[in-house]
């Protein structure tokens, strides 16, 4: 609960886009910093002008005029390492779904950020789950390559922060085999040819030539990744497919990879750790849902962390409308052996590192003020959010869902239909 100088609703009400950020003191019985400072008891986080100024104990001076928020827990804003929030309003309605383009001739060049809609209702719902940044990946359809992913804030503001071309997303394993023509050998041939196309750009295209698999625009878009300057996110699950990827990574040491899925990653954990390849996983996965996930177990996260593999935990069951359930997934990972602190890092520090987001995912002086106050343990399913700050601005805790809820709290229509009730 918020013990306050001003209520959270009032904080939300004073918000105007672009207004000068206020000074806030966010107090928590427990303040998890994500740094070597660990978890502070009765901690205080001072926010001013978009940045964290101080992180300290109960004696931390609160600047005059600061708005005070008090909660059970305070953490950095969570970062979803893999989502589709903001590019799909309603999955089944093609006109509202900008995640894939089966009829486009392009692939790597498809920039998911061109489809990002900050007004998307799921952006607001995600923010209300304490998630302040989302890495968003397109869905592959033309070939192995889905296109360019981005990282955005969840403020829902048109002028919100967006980091484009944060990664190239591609699919290997069974999915990649299907996209490349029907087999894993076809997928590997396509990947190698695509890297060659990028490295031959612009030369072979300049004289009217074509690439082996990529159009001119796609080859151009793959150049940074082919030079090791842009991360390549690869969806792969089985130990065999992950070993094949690591063989490739070893033969191409300049390239930067991270794995998405990685259901059997625990079987090759030591090699992943040695190659410093992070795994973005949904640790709920524990069924042989396909022949590439036979050894899936909820202990995957714990085993990977123990081996020293950087992990980011996400909800892959619905990465669009319920990306926020990453906390529940992480809590279950703890119930299956993952250290609680590691679980928190998998939602904050590690995704920030994967995407090179310096100054995010931690509560530290000078860091960007993405801060969340919770009414309990953030990984607990019964916990809710008390306050969310993005770049130092208190965020509205309303969404289309909360408006529907408030309209239908009463079903009384004795005077007028519910449609006249606007929360």
């Amino acid at each position: 609960m918020i013990r306050k100088l001003i209520a959270s609703a009032a904080i939300a009400a004073c918000l105007t886009a672009g207004a000068l950020a206020e000074t806030y003191a966010v107090k928590g019985k427990n303040v998890w910093t994500g740094t070597s400072a660990g978890t502070l008891t009765d901690g205080v986080v001072i926010i001013r002008d978009g940045r964290i100024v101080t992180v300290g104990g109960p004696d931390t001076p609160v600047p005059e005029g600061a708005s005070v928020v008090s909660s059970e827990w305070v953490t950095p804003g969570l970062i979803s390492a893999f989502s589709r929030t903001g590019i799909i309003e309603v999955d089944a309605e093609d006109t509202t779904n900008d995640s894939s383009a089966a009829l486009s001739p392009f692939s790597v060049a498809l920039n998911a950020a061109d489809g990002f809609n900050p007004d998307d209702t799921a952006v607001h719902v995600t923010r209300l789950g304490g998630v302040t940044r989302i890495a968003v990946a397109p869905v592959p359809s033309t070939n192995l390559f889905a296109g360019q992913g981005f990282v955005a804030d969840t403020s829902g503001r048109q002028e919100g922060d967006i980091h484009e071309n944060a990664f190239v997303y591609m699919s290997m394993g069974e999915g990649g085999a299907g996209l490349a023509g029907g087999s894993r050998p076809a997928a590997w041939a396509q990947l190698r040819a695509a890297i060659d196309d990028a490295r031959a750009y612009p030369g072979r295209y300049a004289v009217g030539g074509t690439g082996d698999v990529l159009t001119r625009l796609d080859a151009k878009a793959l150049v940074p990744a082919a030079k090791g300057k842009e991360l390549i996110l690869v969806s792969a699950s089985s130990a065999t497919d992950l070993n094949a990827l690591m063989d490739f990574a070893e033969s191409e040491p300049a390239l930067k990879f991270a794995v998405v899925g990685g259901d059997e990653a625990w079987r090759v954990a030591d090699r992943l750790a040695r190659l410093k390849i992070p795994v973005i996983l949904d640790s709920f996965s524990n069924l042989p849902a396909s022949f590439e996930q036979l050894a899936a177990t909820q202990e995957n996260a714990a085993r990977l962390a123990k081996a020293g593999v950087p992990i980011a935990i996400v909800n892959l069951d619905d990465e669009t409308h319920l990306a926020r359930l990453m906390t529940q997934v992480a809590g279950n990972a703890v119930a299956n052996g993952l250290d609680w602190d590691e679980a928190m890092k998998s939602l904050t520090v590690t995704p920030a590192k994967i995407y090179g987001l310096s100054g995010y995912g931690v509560l530290a002086p000078g860091a960007h003020a993405d801060v969340v106050a919770w009414d309990g343990d953030p990984l607990e399913v019964t916990t809710n959010v008390d306050a969310v700050f993005i770049e130092g601005e208190a965020q509205p805790l309303t969404s289309r869902q909360t408006e529907l809820r408030d309209r239908y709290m009463s079903l009384d229509e004795s005077q007028r239909p519910r449609a006249y009730t606007r929360p």
């Binding site: 309003e89 309603v90 999955d91 089944a92 309605e93 209702t121 799921a122 130990a239 059997e264 079987r267 709920f284 524990n286 069924l287 042989p288 849902a289 396909s290 022949f291 996930q293 036979l294 050894a295 899936a296 177990t297 909820q298 202990e299 069951d317 619905d318 669009t320 409308h321 319920l322 359930l325 529940q328 809590g331 279950n332 703890v334 119930a335 299956n336 990984l379 607990e380 399913v381 019964t382 916990t383 809710n384 869902q401 909360t402 529907l404 809820r405 239908y408 709290m409 079903l411 519910r418």
Partner: protein, 471 residues
């Protein structure tokens, strides 16, 4: 003359099962007009496994009927709940478990699962959950598509699920019969079937039927139904046929003569009209549920439960008045238009209105954590000012689904005399950190988190990477 009805047939069939227990005996009985054909040709062969007495002590017990007992004891004997309370004596030879700090609840019952019909691995050869060939397929029975080796059954057991309803999918207006099973490993589906559970009928509203049939095969219009109007017309046309069919059989039962020709499709629908088969209907939108309730009155049957029901909160008063359960997710929304208005407080708002609440999964993942789904809904309600005691919320997971499946006199709560379907949790099951330590089905220990000897491994997982691992 006694009127012919499906209840009599079911009762006769149960007697047949009982007599068959003595050994295989070809049934040479000539069918009479009172039992013109076998009503239960695929009977349950489930028998409880050995179940020595177990006394669980010092536990926090939620009895599943709204009561909580602190520092309580629960005695299971001969497969039944025998005693529950503060002081329960251990009978001779009973295993006594000190459950201090742990919780005990009735086993979870998921009334919406596709385990076995859409099993893992999800390869094309094992997709047996939807007879998509036509909008009316009430002739198909889910049990004929259930693959008992689906590893998902074991995962659900580890999540405390002791019974479940397996339903056909939701492409069709009438999808077919569902089957209720006890969650025990078995070589056959008959070995899982819940003894005496009534049959159910899966129906579907809204987008799915019109998308699959109207927009199917790449041609527009692909066929009927093409719209929600077509959905309603399709149901009504089928009910009219079913009523005529039932009338013929009722006449035959009353007057004899030549038996009418059987129609498998109409057998099921007539079973609904005679009240023997329970209707479980996939329906998202409030306005559609209201139409369906009217239609059920038009033809004289009852919808037992609306499934998914993401807009139940908008008509919770009408659902309470009608008496249908809403079988809901905690928070799924947005994946299609009819799910667009889903809110996390749906469950709590339906409870607040006094209507019947069920938490269901419709997911091989969700079924493993239905306690957490209930916990989320409970907490979202609390945040909105709707305070529901945990012991009441547990009814969403056991007693209410049991009612919706017609098995609440046998299971779904810890009332003495009921089946010993019980979960011993490592702590408060409304916490993300809590796991099922032990799961009992009819008093027999069928899962023990700490003992590999009580963790079944399906045939499919034998000899594969990860065999027998902690999952």
């Amino acid at each position: 003359m006694k009127p012919w009805n499906w209840a009599a047939l079911a009762a006769a069939a149960l007697l047949t099962v009982a007599s068959a227990c003595g050994g295989p005996k070809p049934d040479k009985k000539a069918f009479t007009k009172d039992e013109p054909f076998p009503a239960n040709p695929y009977p349950s062969t489930y028998v409880a496994f050995p179940n020595p007495p177990v006394l669980i002590t010092h536990a926090t017990i939620l009895d599943g009927e709204g009561a909580r007992i602190e520092d309580g004891s629960l005695l299971l004997q001969d497969g039944k709940v025998v005693a529950i309370g503060k002081d329960v004596e251990a009978p001779e030879g009973a295993t006594v478990i000190d459950a201090a700090g742990r919780w005990v609840t009735p086993g979870i019952i998921d009334n919406h699962s596709h385990l076995g019909v859409y099993p893992s691995p999800g390869v094309s050869a094992l997709q047996d959950g939807n007879e998509i060939s036509g909008p009316v397929t009430s002739e198909v029975w889910a049990e004929h598509g259930v693959w008992p080796q689906d590893p998902g059954f074991g995962r659900a057991r580890a999540g405390g699920v002791t019974s479940l309803q397996i339903l056909p999918g939701s492409a069709n207006l009438f999808g077919g019969r569902g089957v209720t099973v006890k969650n025990v490993p078995s070589r056959t589906v008959q070995g899982m079937k819940f003894p005496g559970a009534p049959y159910t009928l899966k129906m579907a509203c809204g987008e799915n039927p019109k998308r699959v049939y109207g927009y199917g095969n790449g041609a527009i219009p692909g066929g009927s139904p093409f719209s929600r109007m077509g959905n309603m017309a399709g149901y009504r046309a089928a009910w009219i046929k079913a009523a005529a069919y039932k009338k013929k059989w009722d006449k035959y039962a009353a007057e004899g003569g030549e038996a009418p020709a059987r129609d498998l499709q109409l057998d099921t629908l007539a079973g609904v009209l005679s009240g023997e088969i329970l209707v479980h209907m996939h329906c998202y939108r409030a306005d559609e549920m209201a139409q369906i309730m009217d239609m059920s009155k038009e033809f004289g049957y009852k919808v037992t439960a609306f499934h998914h029901a993401v807009e139940s909160y908008k008509i919770a008063d009408k659902l309470a008045a009608y008496g249908a359960c809403s079988s809901m997710w905690a928070d799924w929304w947005g994946f299609k238009m009819e799910a667009y208005d889903g809110i996390p407080e749906n469950i709590a708002l339906v409870q607040k209105a006094g209507a019947c609440v069920i938490v269901h999964s419709d997911s091989e993942m969700g079924i493993q954590r239905l306690n957490q789904e209930a916990a989320k809904a409970w907490a979202d309600g609390r945040k909105a000012g709707i305070d529901i005691p945990e012991e009441v919320a547990w009814e969403w997971l056991s007693l209410n689904p049991a009612k919706s499946l017609g098995i609440d006199s046998k299971t779904g709560s810890l009332r003495p005399g009921k089946m010993g379907d019980v979960v011993l949790w490592s702590g408060n099951p409304f916490s993300v950190y809590t796991k099922a330590d032990q799961v009992y089905v009819d008093g027999a220990l069928m899962y023990d988190r700490n003992d590999p000897a009580y963790r079944a491994v399906s045939d499919f997982e034998l000899g594969q990477p990860g065999e027998g691992d902690m999952k």
